[in-house]
């Protein structure tokens, strides 16, 4: 359990963006948000809205154009590079490709702010590095070359590097972007473990809304005119995510946090039956552009049961049988429902 969680980071009317020549290109209205220690925070927003810029600004890679960032109550402008590197670690979307660099060496670079002028790895540094490798379950890879790792293994190595850096805050720009589903959940699980067990504050950007909603402690939702923060559930209730998609084709369902394509309904169908088959038949019907009717009117579908192996589509004048959902849907898509 997280006890005594206290504010470790706060943003006060932060203005982010780029300076090109004389002109300041401010990306967003002033942002105000905060993070407590041990929280897993997802940063959500549409492409190009400035998530990466925000994360880079929090890491100190670019200066705020206005407003303040406080780490443990101290302004980011008052930190030296070295001090900041002991406070916050960073993983960008940039892939590190160095031949002849071993996993151990990459993780050891996390010790940079803690080692002497030549970067000598002392016994206690070695312990920290081994611990970081253990926590990310990369121990057995330590002698492998970074260039030989899979995407997921490389990402775990990068996380081990921040662990070795021993910062309270980890900032990750789309840490799961190029991973397959299993890899995504593995990394997310790791991030969750670190925030729960090692009291790390992790701020990460993602496009995977469902994952963010189900796993993170807090969401920073960046919209065109504001930043809304809160537990994912609070934002769901407030309907905050609806603003994310002012698109006419995507529909966000704030009951279960799923998306569907908005399409003109072709009609409604009643489904008789229960269980897993019913659930997936409903999904298929939705996909084909029909809604599920609550009353038993024509046409209706009787899904397979013990005595019957077929999906039975009953119209007012005809009955058709299908051996799979695939066949059922192909038929539905072809025919206009009223003609059945």
């Amino acid at each position: 359990m997280k006890m005594n969680s206290k504010e470790i980071l706060s943003l006060d009317s932060l203005k982010i963006g780029y300076v090109s020549g004389k002109y300041e290109n401010v990306l967003l209205p002033p942002l105000t948000a905060s993070a407590n220690s041990g929280e897993l925070i997802a940063v959500i927003g549409r492409n190009g809205i400035g998530k990466s810029t925000l994360l880079r600004t929090l890491t100190g890679l670019q200066l705020p154009l206005g407003g303040e960032v406080f780490y443990s109550g101290k302004n980011i402008r008052d930190y030296s590079r070295m001090e900041l590197a002991q406070k916050v670690g960073y993983i960008s979307t940039e892939i590190v490709k160095v031949t002849n660099m071993r996993v151990y060496d990459l993780v050891a670079l996390g010790r940079f702010p803690h080692t002497n002028w030549i970067g000598k790895i002392e016994m206690n540094d070695h312990e920290v590095i081994l611990d970081a490798l253990r926590k990310t379950s990369m121990e057995s890879f330590s002698r492998k070359f970074v260039s030989e790792l899979s995407d997921g293994e490389r990402q775990k190595t990068m996380i081990a590097r921040i662990l070795a850096q021993d910062t309270g805050i980890m900032i990750m720009d789309e840490p799961t972007a190029f991973l397959d589903i299993a890899g995504k959940y593995e990394i997310l699980h790791l991030m969750q473990m670190l925030s729960n067990n090692s009291d790390k504050t992790i701020i990460f950007s993602t496009h995977d809304l469902q994952m963010a909603i189900s796993q993170s402690d807090k969401i920073w939702l960046i919209l065109d005119n504001t930043l809304i923060e809160g537990a994912p559930e609070d934002l769901m209730i407030a309907g905050a995510f609806d603003h994310l998609f002012n698109s006419s084709t995507v529909l966000f369902n704030s009951e279960d946090g799923t998306f569907s394509f908005r399409s003109d309904t072709k009609g409604s169908i009643y489904i008789e039956g229960a269980g897993k088959r019913k659930h997936w038949t409903e999904k298929a019907i939705n996909r084909a552009g029909f809604t599920v009717s609550k009353e038993k009117t024509y046409p209706y579908i009787i899904i397979p049961s013990d005595s019957n192996n077929f999906w039975r589509l009953s119209g007012q004048s005809s009955i058709q049988e299908f051996s799979s959902i695939y066949e059922l849907i192909s038929c539905l898509s072809k025919e206009v429902i009223r003609s059945i």
């Binding site: 880079r56 890491t59 100190g60 890679l61 590079r81 070295m82 900041l84 590197a85 002991q86 916050v88 670690g89 960073y90 960008s92 940039e94 590190v96 490709k97 160095v98 031949t99 002849n100 660099m101 071993r102 060496d105 990459l106 670079l109 996390g110 940079f112 702010p113 080692t115 002028w117 030549i118 970067g119 000598k120 121990e139 057995s140 330590s142 002698r143 260039s147 850096q165």
Partner: protein, 355 residues
């Protein structure tokens, strides 16, 4: 899992042992080739005579050859090899470009422009042989400035253009542009200046006066010490600028240190020995293959030893021991370096430009 860790531990110990073994081997090679470089030459001198000459009681002819010619030349070769290779290693890391080196990027050309300004531009009675100690420092400083200017230009360009091949082509363009300027300067200079300059461009390890070797040794030592200080920064820069900053590196400071260091190393060598190609680019790759590491705490000393060795070998070959003729050392270094460079180019297609 347990056995994995045990195996890994033994691997660690083994690779540590290997590193020590390779270092010992390289150190031995440096010593052996240094001795061979003194013993072998156009005039064959018996080993016993060489030893006598060094310990100061031999036939005066042999003594002159050994002490006034071969020994200084061997020391120069060693120094030049160390300096060029180190500057190449630093450039490759700081530009994140496996093809970087003082010669290909035009840094040596920049240095030679500095030298051309001194020899062709200012004094009509300077020749490389007759320059006094102050003159040597002026020559070397001009060379640093020339090397530094090109280095700055390349740094500026590479902060905008990430493509390795583009930067290489720009390096070639810079070299050509500088040659054009030098040719124009030659056109307007008198005969003695021209002769002095042409002799300088031929690149030689053997024409240095005692005071020039003195200046070279001091400058290169300063560069080597500075480079030892840069190993931690270079390691961080391997990750790219953003990651380097995020782990606490002051990138601008690192760039300045490495910039000064490479300009001193490449500039000093070029000032006295002329442009010597392909050592700076090839040696760091050989060292990486040998040690299989990206850690500059290993690569820097490795490059120092390997660079010295290869330059000594080049010098020995260029003297064609036992014959009357001597090859230009530049030809030898090119023949040794170019195959390595080609190999790196072919291998790098797979790694899409990273090393």
């Amino acid at each position: 899992m347990k056995t994995d860790i045990k195996k890994q531990l033994s691997d660690d110990i083994k690779s540590g042992r290997n590193t020590k073994l390779i270092f010992t081997g390289l150190l031995l090679m440096v010593v052996i080739f240094l001795i061979l470089d003194i013993f072998l030459g156009s005039v064959s001198i018996k080993a016993s005579e060489v030893i006598k000459a060094i310990f100061n009681n031999a036939d005066s002819n042999f003594e002159t050859i050994i002490l006034k010619f071969r020994l200084p030349k061997a020391i120069t070769a060693l120094t030049v090899g160390v300096a060029l290779s180190l500057s190449g290693l630093q450039m490759q890391t700081v530009f994140r470009n496996p093809m970087a080196g003082p010669y290909v990027l035009g840094i040596s050309s920049g240095a030679s422009l500095g030298v051309a300004f001194v020899i062709l531009g200012f004094s009509s009675n300077i020749t490389p042989d007759s320059i006094n100690s102050l003159g040597n420092w002026i020559l070397v400083a001009a060379s640093w400035i020339g090397a530094g200017s090109v280095m700055l230009l390349i740094m500026f360009i590479s902060s905008r253009v990430k493509d390795i091949m583009t930067i290489l082509i720009l390096g070639i363009m810079l070299s050509s542009g500088i040659s054009a300027i030098v040719i124009i300067m030659q056109y307007f200079s008198n005969e003695t200046m021209l002769k002095a300059y042409v002799i300088w461009t031929m690149g030689s390890l053997g024409n240095l006066t005692a005071s020039q070797i003195h200046v070279l040794l001091i400058s290169v030592s300063a560069g080597v010490i500075l480079s030892l200080f840069s190993s931690k920064m270079l390691n961080a820069l391997l990750l790219g600028e953003n990651y380097a900053r995020s782990i606490g590196l002051n990138v601008r400071f690192a760039r300045i240190v490495i910039f000064i260091c490479t300009s001193i190393l490449a500039g000093s060598v070029t000032a006295f020995c002329g442009p010597i190609g392909f050592i700076g680019i090839a040696v760091p790759h050989i060292v990486r293959i040998l040690f299989k590491t990206s850690d500059h705490k290993v690569l820097i000393p490795g490059t120092i030893l390997m660079g010295g060795t290869i330059m000594l070998v080049s010098d020995i070959i260029s003297q064609l021991p036992g014959t009357e003729s001597v090859l230009p050392v530049n030809a030898v270094t090119s023949l040794i370096g170019i195959p390595v460079v080609i190999w790196v180019i072919l291998r790098n297609r797979k790694y899409s430009g990273q090393f």
